[in-house]
């Protein structure tokens, strides 16, 4: 049996008469970097909320990190990491306080937190910033730290919601190198982005249009399938079909 970290079928979410997510079926392998693309309003956020166990599907079934998304959503939350562009760290806490807080939330012991904090700060070359308030860090640093904190408890999978929006080009690439390192360690990465060059860095990419997944394959295969030079073009061909506003 191959190791599927996400395995969902016919996942659906309705808000009244509006079908935000419409019978999506897909799986993600362990250690894979999975790009989750789609236009604004295509249903990405809602789908991600269901996978993270914070929104109950209207229909469909599946597992995330081996736990049932309907019955075991509390266990899911404990075994995933999450980071978004909008909220990642507490701005008014110091760097080490943030690490401690999130380590504590995931139930790590003080000793483990202390050891891992040192290792993490060293790895990021952040030792001098240990006592800096997060709000004084440049955005790119903040996002790198936030990512490290999101995988601090070694989750099976980490969800990244537009992690690199507004980050400068060099930092954006360093960030992706961190994603690669995490994937090499066996952490599955589920990421959304509006940068189409970043779609190329994923092992596989899905593109959502109007609540369903219209394309799912490796970037190279998608380019071939849509006879396009870039992922940007693939995306445009698909998103043009969207009917809902």
């Amino acid at each position: 049996m191959s190791n599927k970290v996400i395995d969902v079928s016919n996942l659906t979410k309705m808000f009244g008469n509006f079908t935000a997510v419409d019978h999506i079926t897909f799986d993600v392998e362990e250690g894979e970097i999975f790009g989750f693309l789609g236009a604004n309003g295509a249903g990405k956020t809602t789908a991600m909320q269901m996978l993270c166990g914070i929104s109950m599907p209207t229909a469909g079934e599946g597992t995330v990190a081996g736990y049932d998304i309907i019955k075991e959503n509390e266990l899911i939350k404990r075994n995933i990491g999450y980071m978004s562009q909008k909220f990642s760290l507490y701005e008014d806490l110091k760097v080490w306080e943030n690490i401690r807080l999130f380590g504590g939330i995931y139930g790590l012991s003080d000793k483990v937190i202390a050891e891992k904090t040192d290792a993490l700060l060293k790895q990021l070359n952040f030792q001098q910033e240990r006592n800096t308030l997060v709000k004084y860090l440049p955005l790119g640093w903040k996002q790198k730290l936030a990512f490290s904190v999101a995988i601090f408890h070694e989750p099976e999978i980490v969800f990244l919601d537009e992690p690199t929006g507004g980050v400068d080009p060099a930092m954006r690439r360093q960030f992706w190198e961190m994603i690669y390192d995490a994937a090499d360690r066996g952490i599955t990465v589920f990421v959304t982005t509006h940068y189409m060059d970043e779609a190329e860095y994923c092992n596989r990419v899905s593109i959502m249009v109007d609540g369903h997944i219209d394309a799912l394959d490796s970037p190279a295969a998608l380019r071939k399938q849509f006879n396009a030079d870039t992922m940007d073009e693939v995306f445009r061909q698909l998103a043009r079909k969207a009917e809902r506003d």
Binding site: G140, G166, D168, A170
Partner: protein, 301 residues
């Protein structure tokens, strides 16, 4: 015409955080001028100063001859300003929002309909819908309509495309291109480097300073390194491998390729052979024209 000279701005106790560190530039009539750089580089501070919303610590800025500090009342009549986040009334309908802003500027939707027709027509079918219930792309069109309804001479758009998907972004830039034909000065900021080509001239901003100001092509022409693209199998491993190579000065992932700058002794065949020996397959190395993003990285390195 916009003339900005030596703008400085800092925040916090005793100016601890420097937002603008001596910015000067000029924008001609009918130009789209892009300020491009990452978040926190000072784009919002610059635009707020130009919109007369905050005061610079020093320096001056003239917008069509009006000083942003002294003539702020006049400035507020001639500019259309769209802040970074959606800043309309979510509980008012599309039409109510537009009517309200038209009245603030002593005009009506009918009087200036021709200015916004192109954009507004796309959201007019939803004119009774509350702004809060619009999708991202439609909100943006409404915000642009509201900023345009009084026939401004200068349009100031602070990161209008942040968080917007590539298709809506392209549509938005198409709208700006058509607006430009009406003779407006359009000042726009973005963190997306690929949007540079849609501007007549751009300024690359980093840490409160303009590190380059030119046409997009001019900036690319000034790129002094020799740039090659490398592709093949196992890209992330290849990236690490390239970093260890003597001839390679820098290497960065760029979509499905890796962009490398090399020193003068570089031979394409040599590197191709080297990578093939390291078990990378389908290795293909080709010279490549730099993008604005390459330039930005070279300038900030």
């Amino acid at each position: 015409m916009i003339k900005v000279k030596d703008l400085y701005k800092s925040y916090g106790k005793s100016g601890k955080i420097k937002a603008l560190n001596g910015v000067s530039f000029k924008v001609d009539d009918g130009e789209i001028f892009g300020v491009i750089g990452p978040d926190g580089a000072g784009k919002t501070s610059l635009f707020r100063i130009l919109a007369s919303l905050i005061l610079p610590d020093s320096g001056s800025a003239l917008m069509n001859g009006h000083d942003v500090v002294q003539d702020y009342r006049r400035i507020r009549q001639i500019i259309g300003y769209m802040p970074g986040r959606f800043s309309l009334y979510q509980d008012l309908s599309v039409e109510e929002n537009l009517t309200f802003f038209a009245t603030l500027f002593n005009t009506t939707i009918e009087e200036n309909y021709h200015l916004i027709k192109d954009i507004y027509q796309q959201i007019e079918p939803f004119k009774d819908r509350r702004a809060g219930a619009l999708s991202g792309g439609m909100k943006q069109k409404l915000a642009l309509s509201c900023a345009l309804i009084h026939k401004p001479e200068i349009l100031i758009l602070d990161e209008p495309t942040t968080g917007v998907d590539p298709v809506s972004r392209k549509e938005f830039w198409d709208m700006l291109a058509r607006l430009k034909e009406q003779g407006l000065i359009i000042l726009v900021s973005t963190a997306y480097m690929d949007e540079a080509s849609r501007c007549d001239r751009i300024a690359l901003i980093k840490d409160g300073e303009f590190i380059a100001t030119d046409t997009p092509q001019g900036i690319i022409n000034d790129y002094s390194d020799i740039l090659w693209s490398v592709e093949g199998s196992r890209m992330s491993a290849m990236l690490k491998e390239l970093r260890t190579h003597d001839m390679v000065m820098s290497s960065f992932a760029f979509g499905d390729k890796i962009h490398i700058t090399v020193d003068a002794g570089f031979r394409r065949n040599e590197l191709e052979q080297y990578l093939t020996n390291k078990d990378f397959r389908d290795v293909n190395i080709a010279p490549i024209e730099p993008t604005v993003e390459d330039c930005f990285m070279a300038l900030t390195r």
